[in-house]
């Protein structure tokens, strides 16, 4: 039987800061969102991941049935300490489950997702819970900080009446220096600040990976209804997508950056949730995930059934609270 997504959940914190607020405070903003999500003082990737997981489990899933847990974050609350026990206790999952934890780059979410799929195929039980959450930090004087936002997505995977099934995948890696990195012991993301250099790796690697996936599946861009290209910003996905031969209508449904900022490892999976919200049975989706340094994963899905859920784009507009720049500095503990 095919393995796929049984249910999904998402979470965004209620705090926001606008690009205009950055410009007012700093004179410029190094990222092109119009507003971005900000984790509250008492939130982190773990609490946000729990919120998304509860949303996914609320679709009538018994937590006791989860036999596989996969976690991904580039900004976990501890650099070293297994979080599976925390997640299990916080969600009331059974303790005799197999778990994996990922976090070396923003590709982590894709790694967790595909690892869970393959472990299910390999006989590691019937249902997996994948939780992906990020709220990264950097020095606020550094333009790389400006795009960093917060959000989380969770998926229940299995064989029981999936709403979308995974068809195939492709993956590539490449040595790429100086692009979005964080040295051991540091809390702050950095890059060398040469965008034309660092975005080249994204453009080439993403295009090659998606091409490889389409070749493997013997399909062309027109055979897919949607393509999600990891949003490191809101320009590159359109650029790469169009170069590959996809039309704007296939790309835009998966674009959230404008209203969220860069949600790190969670980003392509929040986009996937936004696409699943509107997808119809039979439609095909490509998800292409990127991690700096660099590595990609792309996988394709076929939608089996429509979902009846509050759409993510609607949820994104609930209960928003706008921060001024000083409040932002305080909530991020920069000040």
């Amino acid at each position: 039987m095919e393995i796929g997504i049984i249910s999904y959940g998402t979470y965004f914190p209620s705090l926001r800061i606008t690009r205009a607020e950055y410009q007012k405070a700093l004179g410029s903003c190094g990222a092109s969102f119009s507003e971005k999500t900000v984790a509250d003082f008492d939130e982190d990737s773990l609490t946000m991941g729990i919120a998304a997981a509860k949303d996914a489990l609320a679709e009538g899933i018994n937590p006791e049935e989860i036999s596989l847990l996969a976690w991904a974050s580039t900004s976990p609350p501890y650099s070293e300490k297994s979080l599976s026990g925390s997640l299990t206790e916080m969600l009331g999952l059974r303790k005799n489950l197999f778990s994996t934890e990922h976090g070396q780059s923003t590709r982590a979410g894709g790694e967790a997702f595909l690892t869970a799929i393959s472990l299910l195929k390999g006989g590691f039980g019937q249902k997996a819970l994948v939780i992906i959450a990020d709220s990264a930090r950097a020095n606020v004087k550094d333009p790389i900080e400006h795009g960093l936002a917060a959000g989380s997505a969770a998926f229940i995977l299995g064989r029981e009446n999936p709403l979308a099934v995974v068809d195939g995948f492709a993956a590539q890696v490449q040595e790429n220096l100086g692009e979005r990195f964080r040295k051991a012991g540091s809390n702050d993301l950095k890059d060398i600040g040469v965008k034309t250099f660092t975005s080249k790796a994204y453009e080439n690697l993403m295009a090659n990976t998606v091409n490889e996936l389409m070749e493997k599946e013997n399909q062309k861009p027109a055979d897919y209804n949607y393509i999600i290209l990891h949003e490191m910003d809101n320009r590159l996905p359109l650029k790469v997508g169009k170069k590959l031969g996809f039309r704007e209508e296939q790309i835009i449904p998966g674009q959230l950056y404008e209203n969220t900022g860069d949600t790190g490892a969670a980003s392509p999976f929040l986009s996937l949730a936004a696409v699943l919200d509107q997808a119809k049975p039979g439609e095909k989706i490509i998800v292409a995930v990127y991690g700096s340094g660099a590595g990609t994963l792309a996988f394709s899905l076929t939608v089996r059934r429509a979902v009846d859920k509050i759409p993510l784009r609607e949820k994104l507009n609930y209960d928003k609270k706008y921060l001024n720049f000083i409040q932002y500095l305080k909530v991020k503990r920069y000040l």
Binding site: S14, D42, E43, E89, K321
Partner: protein
């Protein structure tokens, strides 16, 4: 003055702190939270079963802790928030518990407002993050964006 809770003590109670696991008295049906050695309704000292509470309830009463009034473990948060609300929540299942009310905060807190439990960082001591329950007001869907501190959406 703060009330230091050692890590072993905190860990013993993670089930109740992370997801509101209480006790149900098999003798009289009373729900007990936080778990105690005996039933305050019928006095039974044995025969309890564990029960996970829904996390839904209503504000029974509330207060606002001013910055300087915060215990030391909440000093950092108080410095950030200025002041913060603490609510007494009447849970659906009966017990009343005290916790912080967290964002998104309503413009005005009112007794009777429906709330639900969320998991948040409570405080950090000895570099160990203490997670636990807080509550947030359950708002009507499609509520329009609000503003704080006079910052209008640009």
């Amino acid at each position: 003055m703060g009330a230091h809770i050692s890590i072993p003590m905190y860990q013993r109670a993670v089930k109740q702190r992370y997801r509101l696991v209480g006790l149900k008295c098999q003798n009289c049906g009373q729900i007990i939270f936080p778990p105690k050695a005996g039933c305050k309704s019928c006095g039974a000292l044995a025969n309890f079963s564990e029960v996970e509470l829904s996390g839904r309830g209503k504000i029974y009463s509330y207060t606002v802790i001013a910055g300087a009034g915060a215990p030391p473990e909440f000093a950092e948060e108080a410095a950030y928030r200025g002041s913060y609300p603490v609510v007494l929540v009447a849970l659906e299942e009966g017990p009343r518990i005290i916790a912080q009310l967290t964002e998104p905060l309503p413009p005005e807190i009112k007794i009777g407002m429906p709330v639900e439990m969320v998991l948040r960082q409570i405080y950090t001591e000895e570099d160990v993050i203490r997670y636990g329950y807080k509550f947030k007001v359950v708002e009507e869907k499609k509520k329009l964006a609000k503003t704080i501190a006079g910052i209008e959406k640009q």
